[in-house]
């Protein structure tokens, strides 16, 4: 938000003012008529603070598929949220995403509607994601939720309070989840959860944790109708008009943007280097066969290193919203990384989503297993075979490295993966970004977003974000489902 305001405060470019002049005068007339009506205007510019609005809107204009999905989403929900707009870069995924989210929130399920939204609020609040919290506070009240609950978990029923612990652990240290936690929830006399309800809640929690990551990772701006999304201050004359911002012209001349553009030339070789490395890895895979112990150490090293990656400077602290403040708790991932305690390794070969997680979810919450499965696969396999300006590139290696790196941060290990590859393919700034986004998403800054993969397009960065989001969700789900399975056996 702060970025956005600075954006509006900067001087507009002359040419821009020229093009928008006519509309501007009419706008000003409107606002000067002084009918006593306060006209709200968006604080941010476009759906994302990081991505110029022009680019986002272009996508939906060009791609009929995206437009169709947008139409559908609009018809169902009555509005299009900024998340969907940004995801519009990847219509295939967006379709899956919306379908799943719709099912989780609206369709038949063990939990009642207001519970679902409340759990969403709980989850988003763990990351102080005011955007999602606001969105669901509205929905929550709309489906008849008790506004007292919004004063904090203390105001909610005991049943939901019990979920707080699970929420906390899942969000920050899912590896600590044990069957005892599950038992506590399921055997709490009158406040106990049923297994089906618990699965539903777990899916919702993980969904919103990871969605919070995405929200911060892409710098989603608040909706205009929610708090912090609009201002009633009249546009100052020194600025260009509202309509310019709405048209997305404002951001292109942002000085920082320029700075980035300027930088790009310095790093022009980056993509090529990355591609070269991928090629090398592909070829000389067989030559240097690392010993088993070496592989194990590589994983451990990557794991510990990932924890030490400095997440973010505390310089920019997003002011938390009223509601989310009530859910705050000092418990967080950072405690863990500082202490550097040992994370037990989770072998994906022993408990995988495809074999075990899917069956469990689908058994207790029919159809959701399939929806999630489709979504994971879509995110994992999505590719356009491009990298920045290069075409026909096999990116599977890179995608796998990102996916496995995130799972590695949660202590999930793939026996059949050489974690040396991660080091080769992901540079430090990228790792910082991933780490921040996954573990402390609220600390993601525009600088981080800009500083990794400078040559890549915004759509590709959003793609990375999708990957991060789904990988995180799967990691959390795996831990939760494994605990539930252990409880059941």
């Amino acid at each position: 938000m702060r970025h956005a305001t600075t954006a509006t405060e900067t001087m507009g470019h002359n040419s821009i003012i020229a093009t928008g002049l006519n509309i501007c005068s009419s706008c000003e007339q409107l606002s000067k008529k002084d009918l006593g009506i306060r006209i709200p205007r968006p604080v941010g510019s476009g759906p994302s603070r990081f991505i110029p609005e022009k680019e986002i809107l272009q996508v939906s204009k060009v791609d009929p598929r995206t437009q169709l999905i947008f139409e559908g989403a609009f018809a169902t929900l009555g509005h299009l949220d900024n998340i969907s707009l940004v995801m519009g870069f990847h219509p295939k995924y967006l379709d899956n995403f919306l379908k799943t989210q719709y099912y989780l929130l609206q369709m038949d399920g063990p939990l009642s509607l207001h519970y679902r939204h409340y759990i969403g609020i709980m989850a988003a609040a763990r990351h102080q994601c005011s955007y999602l919290v606001n969105l669901h506070v509205n929905d929550f009240l709309q489906v008849g939720g008790d506004s007292k609950w919004l004063n904090g978990l203390d105001g909610a029923p005991k049943k939901l309070q019990a979920l707080g612990e699970l929420n906390k652990i899942l969000a920050h240290r899912p590896w600590l989840l044990t069957k005892a936690h599950i038992e506590n929830l399921l055997k709490a006399e009158e406040h106990s959860w049923s297994l089906a309800e618990l699965i539903h809640a777990v899916v919702l929690l993980t969904h919103y944790h990871s969605l919070a990551s995405f929200t911060f990772g892409c710098g989603i701006t608040p909706e205009i109708h929610s708090d912090g999304g609009h201002t009633f201050r009249p546009p100052s004359l020194s600025q260009y008009c509202v309509c310019d911002i709405a048209n997305g012209n404002g951001n292109t001349n942002h000085p920082e943007e320029k700075f980035v553009n300027h930088q790009v030339s310095d790093f022009s070789g980056e993509v090529e280097v990355l591609m070269e490395r991928m090629k090398q890895l592909q070829e000389c895979r067989d030559d240097e066969e690392a010993s088993q112990e070496e592989m194990a150490t590589r994983f451990e090293r990557e794991k510990t290193e990932s924890m030490l990656v400095a997440t973010a400077e505390d310089e920019e602290c997003v002011p938390s919203r009223d509601v989310s403040r009530h859910f705050e708790d000092p418990y967080g991932y950072k405690d863990f990384s500082r202490r550097g305690e040992h994370v037990p390794t989770f072998r994906v070969q022993d408990y995988s989503w495809e074999d075990h997680g899917y069956s469990l979810v689908n058994r207790l919450y029919p159809d959701v297993g399939q929806l999630l499965d489709d979504k994971f696969q879509m995110a994992y396999n999505l590719t356009y075979n491009t990298m920045a300006t290069h075409k026909d590139v096999d990116t599977s290696m890179l995608r796998r490295a990102i996916w496995n790196y995130i799972h590695c941060m949660f202590g999930i290990r793939y026996d059949d993966y050489d974690y040396g590859e991660v080091n080769q393919l992901l540079d430090r700034s990228f790792k910082v970004y991933i780490k921040t986004m996954v573990c402390n998403p609220e600390k993601t800054t525009k600088r981080m977003y800009d500083s990794f993969w400078r040559q890549f397009q915004h759509s590709e960065k959003v793609h990375v974000n999708l990957l991060l989001m789904e990988a995180r969700m799967q990691a959390e789900l795996l831990y939760a489902l494994r605990a539930i399975t252990r409880y059941m056996t």
Binding site: L68, E71, G72, A73, A75, T76, L98, K99, Y102, M107, D108, G144, R285, E289, S291, Q292, E293, M295, A296, R347, Q349, D350, E354, D355, H356, Y358, S359, L360, R363, Q370, D373, Y414, D415, D416, T485, M488, T489
Partner: protein, 874 residues
């Protein structure tokens, strides 16, 4: 072929004795077509008598293609299953010769969860492999004995972490494992060193899910991996001979065909199954989609060429016939969890064993022709079973299994539980009109002399039900007889239920009124006991000072009646044998006994045909002392919530506020007027008839004050009421139980445990729905306080609609059609999308918002869309 005579002999032999298995051995120096085979032997296994016809060479190497061709010419391939290099023939002889294996159901603890198990050829040893375990156990009579730990080294590498293991079926020293890190490892038990690792192939990039030796070719090993490739290794070489690319997702299982030397099947994570020719790595021979979601396993039938069983995440086991051009699904078994392994049972053509990947820990043996109930179940494991294998390829009675619970079991078939035996062969069902159908074993029913044949001839064996008895089927052939008991048409014994259900009021009025109304309904249906119960409930649970009792009113009306009546009634009550009780009540409330008696007897008099007179009387004694509801609370609540709350509450919560409002409705005058206007109160009504009202009313008024004692709270009656409810439910009148439960609401709910309540609700709702009383059943669901019940009408509320423009189904979300980009279901009047109640004419299919159409039809009878149709709405 040189020894043609032997072959002939063999053929004869086979047909005569139905030999289940043959082993053919041969050795030829060269393997070109037409070359002569030096030594050919035929050996019959299966039963204990072997007939070795010829066996000379110890080292045999065969090139099977030609052999099979020759063999084919001879035309006996149906009978033969094993071709092999029989190096250890003597061992086989002992193993099979010593009159099959023996043993018992037994288990041993492993140190770690197992991922897979495999037995050696002679069924004496089993290998267990997992992430942290790799051991060989020998199978003794009474126990497992650990023979060898293959997991050596201080820090075992990932090569030891096995996803799968297979013991070679011909070479007893040879094992292969699939490692989770993508390595394929072979182990030679003959090695002198501690580390038995023989060869290591690290060609796969991802986890290897499955390894499979060729059943007859000693050096041929096949692997299937997560990376989507299958590789064929020649163990004499350092690397794979050929690579097969499935062109799709991860390979979950690979299996060589038992019958066709060159064929193998591969199952994939995307649901496909592919058939490959080992000689053609470029392209699969055939592909078909077997399951939705991953196919975790497949297994060729040991006897039937071309039968392939597959199991998938979709919880199904399917048997495919591959002999036709298109793979045909011939059997399908639906299990309760995703299927991890499937193995045909030896010697039993239709049987296969399965275990599941998640949740379910049992091993099931199915007869594929009876897919609904397992033939046998092994229930020993405490965690999911990960590996199953029949101990001997020719013995159907021993099953070995490994599990994640770190145990290794040998199951004896005789110890298996047979779900069929526990299944209930009797069925019972009520028809809509009270008919009763009952199916049971024929033997049980045949003795019944009253049986009349079904009109229209004996239908016991309709063509389409009759099943030819199959001697191979091990299920007992049960023929059942179906009897239908019709209830006589004139006894409309369900009528009262329907009428009562329709007329009962369960909410929406003050408590007392509800009770009175219901009592009246019951009375009109000639059910005095029920009626009285309602009346008493009202008396017990409502405020005696409440003006809603028709006291003053009746005094005014009937006050002139002689007081004498009361005495006669008293006598009547005494005559009914309740005097003792009355006396007691007299003693308890001395000064008022004079008034109390008639009142009590009034109740009794209503009950004169009631076997429960005494019990009800007991309740009635206290009828004036029950004013102990939290009056203050209730009153205040009532005033606060009267209007607003009523409107706002929806669904399950609704019941409470309403009832609170009921109990003490203070709007007496209005109430009384109502009473005068239409038919009087139920109780009043009765009283009128009995000519007792004045006394009763009088006593009510005068006594209520002195008796208003705080030590008789409403809870006092709860045990009695609870017993009453249970009594009704036991008698089969669940309607009464549920109705009272709803009307009393909070007052009684705590007294009865949730399960019982739920049970009653379910029964009543079921009854209502059978009688097609949808509205009533919905009301009951709505008013119920059990969460399990109230959610009933909130599921499956989806309505699937087609687009009105292109007539195709609409996707689940939205009001916009994916295909034609039009807003569907537009209101013909206002041209907006209708969300909510949509009404349309069935003639022209135009319509819109309910209100709009209703308004429109007031002014015009033509269709608002302008199509000219004269719309008709019912």
């Amino acid at each position: 072929m040189r020894e043609l005579s032997s072959w002939k002999f063999c053929e004869q032999h086979l047909t005569q004795k139905q030999a289940p298995l043959c082993v053919i051995l041969c050795r030829g120096p060269t393997f070109s077509p037409g070359s002569c085979y030096d030594h050919v032997g035929l050996w019959r296994l299966g039963s204990n008598k072997q007939s070795i016809m010829h066996l000379r060479q110890r080292e045999v190497n065969i090139f099977f293609s030609h052999f099979i061709e020759d063999y084919w010419v001879v035309g006996r391939e149906e009978r033969c299953r094993y071709f092999g290099a029989m190096e250890k023939m003597s061992r086989v002889t002992t193993a099979l010769g010593s009159s099959s294996i023996s043993g018992r159901t037994m288990f041993c603890h492993l140190d770690a969860p197992a991922n897979a198990i495999s037995v050696c050829r002679d069924a004496t040893q089993v290998v267990v492999a997992g992430r942290n375990i790799f051991k060989i156990y020998s199978l003794e009579e009474e126990q497992f004995v650990e023979k060898l730990n293959l997991r050596v080294g201080r820090k075992p590498s990932l090569n030891f972490s096995c996803a799968d293991v297979m013991w070679h079926q011909m070479e007893e020293n040879l094992l292969a494992t699939a490692a989770t890190n993508g390595a394929v490892v072979t182990w030679n038990l003959g090695k002198p060193s501690r580390n038995k690792q023989d060869q290591l192939f690290t060609e796969h990039k991802r986890t290897v899910n499955k390894v499979c030796f060729h059943p007859t070719e000693i050096y041929m090993l096949l692997s299937g991996s997560q990376d989507g490739y299958m590789k064929c290794f020649d163990l004499r070489k350092k690397e794979s001979v050929s690579t097969f690319s499935g062109q799709s997702e991860s390979v979950r299982d690979v299996q060589f065909s038992m019958k066709d030397y060159f064929t193998f099947a591969a199952s994939f994570e995307n649901g496909n199954v592919q058939l490959w020719d080992i000689r053609r790595p470029d392209r699969y021979e055939r592909m078909f989609t077997a399951h939705t979601g991953p196919v975790f396993c497949c297994d060729w039938h040991p006897d039937d060429r071309g039968w392939l069983a597959t199991g998938g995440r979709d919880k199904m086991v399917k048997v495919w016939d591959m002999t036709t051009n298109r793979a045909k699904e011939i059997y399908c078994v639906q299990t309760i969890a995703s299927v991890a392994r499937v193995k045909w049972r030896p010697e039993r053509r239709w049987h296969l064993a399965t275990c599941s990947m998640m949740v379910d820990h049992n091993i099931y043996v199915w007869d594929v022709r009876r897919p609904f109930i397992p033939f046998a179940t092994f229930e020993e494991h405490k965690d999911v079973t990960t590996g199953i294998v029949w101990r001997n390829q020719h013995d159907p009675y021993f099953l070995l299994s490994g599990s994640k619970d770190s145990t290794l079991y040998q199951h004896m078939f005789k110890d298996a539980s047979r779900p069929v035996d526990r299944a209930n062969p009797e069925g019972l069902c009520f028809g809509l009109f009270g008919d009763l159908a009952f199916a049971a074993k024929e033997s049980l029913i045949s003795g019944d002399a009253n049986r009349k044949p079904y009109p229209g001839g004996d239908r016991r064996y309709p063509i389409f039900f009759f099943k030819k008895p199959d001697p191979t089927e091990q299920f007992a052939n049960v023929s059942s007889a179906l009897s239908v008991f019709e209830s006589p048409v004139e006894s409309k014994h369900m009528d009262w239920l329907v009428t009562t259900a329709r007329l009962y009021l369960l909410s929406g009025k003050p408590f007392a009124e509800l009770c009175d109304h219901n009592a009246k309904v019951a009375k009109e249906l000639n059910r005095p006991q029920v009626s009285t119960t309602w009346t008493m409930l009202r008396i017990m649970f409502s405020d005696p000072a409440n003006p809603s009792t028709p006291g003053p009113n009746h005094i005014g009306k009937l006050g002139t009646l002689p007081l004498m009546n009361s005495f006669s009634m008293k006598e009547m009550g005494a005559g009914l044998g309740v005097e003792g009780r009355l006396d007691r009540s007299k003693g308890e409330s001395r000064q008022d006994n004079l008034h109390l008696e008639p009142g009590t007897s009034l109740i009794n008099s209503n009950n004169d045909e009631n076997e429960e007179t005494e019990g009800s009387d007991g309740q009635a004694e206290y009828m004036f002392g029950d004013a102990e509801l939290d009056d203050d609370d209730l009153y205040s609540m009532e005033h606060d919530n009267h209007g607003a709350e009523y409107q706002e509450y929806t669904l399950p919560q609704e019941a409470f506020p309403l009832r609170h409002e009921i109990i003490d409705n203070p709007s007496a005058p209005e109430h009384l007027q109502q009473d005068k206007a239409d038919s009087p109160h139920a109780s009043g009504n009765e009283a009128d008839i009995m000519c007792l009202t004045p006394i009763e009313s009088f006593s009510l008024i005068s006594i209520s004050q002195p008796l208003f004692s705080p030590h008789l709270p409403a809870q006092f009656f709860c045990p009695v009421v609870r017993e009453m409810l249970i009594h009704y439910a036991e008698q089969g009148d669940v309607q009464m139980a549920v109705s009272v439960l709803i009307v009393l609401g909070e007052r009684i709910r705590k007294e009865i445990d949730d399960l019982t309540q739920e049970h009653w609700y379910m029964s009543y709702i079921d009854l209502l729905q059978r009688l097609e009383l949808w509205n009533v059943s919905n009301e009951v669901i709505k008013l119920s306080t059990c969460s399990a019940i109230s959610c009933l009408n909130q599921t499956s509320t989806t309505l699937h609609i087609n687009c009105s423009n292109c007539k195709r189904p609409m996707s689940t979300k939205g009001w916009i059609c994916d295909r034609c980009h039009q807003c569907a279901s537009v209101c013909a009047v206002c041209h907006h999308v209708v969300k909510g109640l949509f009404v349309w004419c069935q003639g022209c299919s135009h319509g819109g918002h309910l209100e709009h159409v209703m308004n429109w039809l007031k002014s015009s009878s033509h269709c608002p869309a302008g199509c000219g149709h004269l719309c008709e709405y019912t």
